[in-house]
């Protein structure tokens, strides 16, 4: 088990390193430049050159990468001149807020999607299945900004019960103190996720309900409720674990559209604005965080699998 963990973490490190290399390369191949974006249209060529020299942007990329890695090892993600704060500070300010939103919506999605998927599987090819299937396809196909706008119009204009904006608090505590403001962003984000999750739960439950062990359970004279909830549900939820593992990066990167729509200053907004302004240190920092989250998410999913499925043996190495 310990050896397995060490191996997996070693692999994770390699992946993260590769991500930084690729991200670094792509950012430096982009046309334009950080200098112009930072200093504005009025800046002279000399000023630009001076900025580039000061930042090290005139050196070969491999050297720049070396410097970046050197600072990274000391825990220094760099400094954003455009935000006038260190990258880690900028991220730490927004990350918790994004996590609040993502966690709430994921939680909501799971609580709603699992029963929906189970109902569809049990009433397969009958009206509950058809209705829910149609609705989830509709939700899945609707652009999220449109969905969010519709919800805003419905619930803060036509029937004004909820604020159209997310809480603007600076800390997590402040955000949480305004629960009404969190409802619309959370629901918007959750609706698409519900559509995806319930499809997965449905198909996995349908597969499992056709398994021989379910027939055996029925042969014991168990009630249908017990057959579904005690025997099938647990095995039917395994695919959701994989989904959750894949969702972890989104928890960190934030939902760009929803954050913009509801004016919620989270990771998504940070990344979007940095991309517009070519704020390299921020872009690199956020990419790094997301890549780490991706790898850790996959690892957590595997560990969770092992915890709930006795057949899964964590081998010493994963090939």
């Amino acid at each position: 088990m310990v050896r397995y963990l060490i191996t997996r973490l070693g692999q994770a490190l390699v992946v993260v390193l590769l991500v930084t290399v690729i991200a670094f390369l792509i950012l430096h191949l982009l046309p334009g430049g950080a200098a112009r974006a930072t200093l504005g249209k009025e800046a002279t060529l000399e000023q630009l050159a001076a900025f580039n020299h000061e930042m090290g942007y005139d050196r070969p990329w491999i050297q720049q990468y070396g410097m970046f890695m050197q600072r990274l090892l000391q825990g220094d993600l760099g400094y954003s001149y455009q935000l006038n704060q260190s990258v880690s500070e900028a991220i730490m300010q927004r990350l918790p807020k994004t996590m609040v939103l993502s966690l709430l919506s994921t939680l909501l999605a799971i609580v709603v999607a699992i029963p929906l998927g189970v109902i569809q599987a049990v009433r397969r090819n009958r009206w509950p299945d058809y209705v829910i299937t149609s609705l989830s396809l509709l939700a899945y196909a609707t652009p999220i900004f449109f969905l969010g706008l519709m919800l805003i119009i419905l619930f803060s204009q036509v029937w004004p019960v909820l604020p159209p904006e997310a809480p603007q608090g600076f800390t997590v505590a402040e955000v949480l103190s305004d629960p009404a403001g969190l409802v619309l962003p959370t629901v918007t984000l959750a609706i698409v996720t519900i559509a995806v999750y319930s499809r997965y739960v449905r198909s996995s439950m349908v597969d499992n309900l056709n398994e021989n062990y379910v027939r055996t359970a029925r042969s014991k004279g168990l009630s249908e409720r017990r057959v579904v909830l005690r025997h099938t549900l647990r095995n039917g939820l395994f695919p959701v674990i994989t989904l959750l593992g894949m969702y972890l990066p989104a928890l960190f990167s934030g939902a760009l559209v929803v954050e913009s729509l509801f004016n919620y200053p989270g990771m998504g907004q940070l990344f979007w604005q940095a991309a517009l302004k070519r704020d390299f240190p921020i872009l690199l920092g956020v990419t790094l965080i997301i890549s780490i989250a991706t790898v850790v998410g996959a690892l957590l999913a595997d560990l969770l699998y092992a915890a709930v499925d006795p057949r899964v043996r964590l081998r010493r190495s994963a090939s």
């Binding site: 191996t7 397969r124 056709n210 398994e211 021989n212 062990y213 027939r215 055996t216 359970a217 029925r218 042969s219 014991k220 004279g221 168990l222 009630s223 017990r226 025997h231 647990r234 095995n235 709930v308 499925d309 006795p310 057949r311 081998r315 010493r316 190495s317 994963a318 090939s319």
Partner: protein
């Protein structure tokens, strides 16, 4: 043991009178709605099961035997529905009872054991919980008591260390052990009726014997009735009191077991018994041609009139196709207008005249319109015929030295010679670590196959027989040892020569459907080997493919169709045609008929034998089924855990086995002679096949052998003349003449007509 009293006390058992049937099916109809229409799976099924009796329900796939079982249990698949008739259990019609009541009856008064023990248990629940669940649900037993009861019942079904097993998960147990768990689960509430649907089909013969004996013992102990559903006539013959034969959704014949096997009345039952490989082996060892039932069972989604077996029957008259036949009355019931006369001669006597005529008049897919096209003047076919007609061995360089002791017919140089073959697989391990150990799949196997000969390789699952097949055709490379094909060690071949070698030896698979690309038409499937080997031009290939189809008895229309449009037997013909495409001299058949029903199996076996004679092919015939190997093979090699323990002429090995394992294997095979069980020599091996990861030292069978001594820790060499054995204490010396084989072999169907008396 207190368990016994307690368990039998549980059931209220209101009806113990022997005259009232425990279960009675009256005119039962079951439909299954599919997208393409409704399949009338059961049509007017009448059956009775008396208390304490074992009823065998036998039939081929699609006959409705499993649907009968599932209808009784109310476990029909989605779309399935009982549409008519009654299911009277303990005097009450289950169809008229409320659903909750039926559920309780199903859980407490009935129990069911399913075919596939590997998938029939919930993979994420502990054994103990699953076994005791009916008690907790139906009888409100507490957690601690349920655990105790689970341990008791597991002990009763012969589970070693039940107090530890209760906390295990299913994947930690072998197939046989899981089936014991399934039986324990079905019996935990002491049901009056146990339905076992193919309970041993997925298991090895030695395990099968243990499980069938267990069900027999428990039946007496619990005083319950058993419905044993199976396709295997042998299993029924040894275990059932009465037998019902099903065909195309109907019961066609029912009688006491001995009576049915001694004198079957319905023409389908008769044909089914004649199609068994063991009924074609005469007492003198000669192999008669198998009787094969032509055609396929009817499509049950279409309206049918008359006798459903009529289109395939040898004795069909116009009347049969129009008259609805119902079961006759009396103890021996049958639904046939032209039944076998009650005082029939032994079926074997009838086989000889009847079989050829029936075969010749076969329906389109039958294998007999083959001789004429084969002589057509197509260039490829002609050369094929020539190559075979010419003395195949004359041109062979005599590279292969006379290897070791096996020198039966020194004239013919072996087409295949395997020497000291070893194959190990790394166990566990992975990319970055050395493996945890080695699985010894094949451990020093040597044998030879001569041109035109069939070498049978038998053994239970995991014995390495399939690995040998894969090694011989070059799908895997041996860890050590030599494979000499036609005088050339294939390990020395590279590139082009190696590719040419592949022409000489081809593989035939168990599941031909899985072994064909579903998106390729049959013409492309058959042309592929020719294209890979760059044989001829497009026209020559087309001609060759046409010849192949003729040889395996399929019409040319098959060329434009896809694999899913064919039945299992037809697919096996296509598979055979593909392996014949390159005119090989050796075909390795890995369980080529194991997935087929008896009547279809006979068609394929006949075809394989015909082609062997026609083309001078040699076969390595790999199978777990001793009776099929006995019918097909000239010589047999018996494998146990990667080693060849016995090699010899088929007749000698089966009728005068020298190795205790071979004898145990033979004894475990159920035969259609009802009282053969009693006459057996009694070598029954217990326990499970040891792991090939750390196989026992010395003789690998010694851990389960009743005769094992200290000396068995040293490895016995394979010794003897023609009939070799690797054993320190062989059961009998090598027989010089073929005198053996009267007492304990596999007798013909009706040779011993005294089963009824034994009951």
């Amino acid at each position: 043991m207190t368990a016994s009293n307690e368990l039998t006390r549980l059931g209220p058992a209101p009806d113990q009178s022997g005259t009232q049937p425990l279960l009675e099916l009256r005119d039962l109809d079951t439909d299954i709605a599919l997208r393409r229409g409704t399949v009338h799976a059961l049509d007017g099924v009448d059956l009775q099961v008396m208390p304490g009796e074992t009823l065998g329900v036998v039939g081929e796939s699609g006959s409705g035997k499993t649907m009968t079982a599932l209808s009784i249990m109310g476990l029909l698949p989605p779309g399935g529905r009982v549409t008519g008739g009654e299911i009277r259990f303990e005097g009450r019609d289950l169809r008229s009872l409320p659903a909750d009541e039926v559920r309780r009856i199903r859980g407490v008064r009935m129990g069911m054991v399913f075919q596939d023990p590997l998938t029939s248990l919930n993979p994420t629940m502990r054994i103990g919980f699953q076994v005791a669940e009916p008690l907790r649900v139906h009888q409100g037993v507490g957690k601690a008591e349920a655990r105790e009861r689970a341990i008791e019942i597991l002990r009763r079904v012969g589970m070693p260390r039940p107090e530890r097993i209760v906390d295990n998960y299913p994947h930690e147990l072998s197939g046989g052990m899981r089936q014991r768990v399934a039986i324990a689960m079905a019996l935990v509430c002491s049901p009056r009726l146990l339905i076992a649907d193919e309970p041993t089909t997925a298991l090895d013969v030695t395990t099968q014997r243990q499980i069938l004996e267990l069900i027999d013992d428990l039946k007496d102990e619990f005083g319950m009735a058993v419905i044993l559903v199976t396709h295997d006539l042998g299993v029924i013959a040894g275990r059932a009191d009465r037998v019902a034969v099903m065909y195309a959704g109907r019961v066609v014949e029912t009688a006491a077991t001995g009576e049915l096997f001694r004198s079957p009345r319905h023409r389908y039952t008769e044909a089914l018994m004649e199609a068994l490989p063991e009924s074609a082996i005469r007492d003198d060892g000669a192999h008669a041609r198998l009787y094969s039932i032509p055609g396929l069972p009817p499509d049950l989604s279409q309206p049918l009139t008359g006798c459903r077996f009529a289109p395939r029957c040898r004795y069909v008259t116009a009347e049969c196709r129009t008259t609805e036949v119902t079961l006759s009355t009396g103890p021996h019931q049958h639904a046939c207008l032209h039944p076998v006369p009650a005082t029939a001669p032994a079926p074997l006597a009838r086989t000889a005249p009847a079989a050829p005529s029936a075969d010749a008049g076969g329906t389109p897919p039958a294998a007999d319109d083959r001789t004429a096209p084969a002589s057509a003047a197509e260039p490829v076919a002609a050369s094929a015929a020539k190559a075979v007609a010419a003395e195949p061995t004359a041109a062979e360089p005599a590279v292969a030295p006379a290897a070791g002791s096996a020198v039966a017919e020194p004239a013919a140089a072996p087409i295949l010679s395997v020497r000291g073959l070893v194959k190990n697989y790394p166990a566990g391990g992975g990319l970055w670590r050395r493996s945890a150990g080695q699985v010894s799949a094949v451990a020093g196997v040597s044998f030879e196959v001569r041109p035109g000969e069939t070498f049978g390789l038998v053994g239970e699952s995991g014995c390495g027989k399939s690995t040998i097949g894969r090694l011989v055709v070059g799908l895997e490379t041996p860890t050590a040892g030599q494979i000499v094909l036609d005088g050339t060690d294939i390990a020395t071949l590279r590139g082009r020569e190696r590719r040419r070698m592949h022409r000489q030896v081809q593989l035939m698979f168990q599941d031909s459907y899985a072994a064909m690309n579903p998106r390729m038409r049959v013409d492309a499937i058959l042309a592929e080997p020719l294209e890979i080997q760059q044989v001829g031009n497009a026209a020559a290939r087309r001609a060759r493919i046409a010849t192949l189809l003729d040889q395996v008895g399929l019409s040319r229309r098959a060329l434009e169709r896809y694999p899913h449009e064919f039945s299992g037997g037809q697919l096996q013909r296509i598979g055979l045609a593909r392996s014949l495409a390159l005119q090989p001299r050796l075909i390795v058949g890995d369980e080529p008929v194991s997935a087929l029903d008896v009547s279809i199996q006979a068609q394929v076996l006949n075809l394989m034998r015909d082609l062997q004679q026609e083309l001078g092919l040699a076969y390595v015939f790999i199978s777990h089924d001793l009776s099929v190997v006995d019918y097909m093979a000239d010589r047999i090699g018996v494998m146990y855990l990667g080693k060849l323990v016995e090699v010899g002429p088929a007749r000698e090995v089966v009728r005068a086995a020298r190795h205790p394992y071979t004898q145990a294997l033979i004894d475990a095979v159920p035969t259609v002679t009802p009282n053969a069980e009693a006459a057996r020599s009694g070598i029954a091996i217990r326990g499970e096949l040891p792991s090939a990861l750390n196989p026992p030292t010395g003789c690998r069978f010694r851990t389960r052998c009743p005769f094992a001594q200290e000396i068995c820790e040293t490895e016995p060499p394979l010794t003897g003349g023609v009939h070799q054995v690797a054993c320190h204490f062989p059961l009998r010396p090598e027989s010089t003449a073929s005198t053996a084989g009267s007492a304990d072999g596999v007798p013909a169907v009706n040779a011993v007509p005294s089963a009824e008396a034994a009951r």
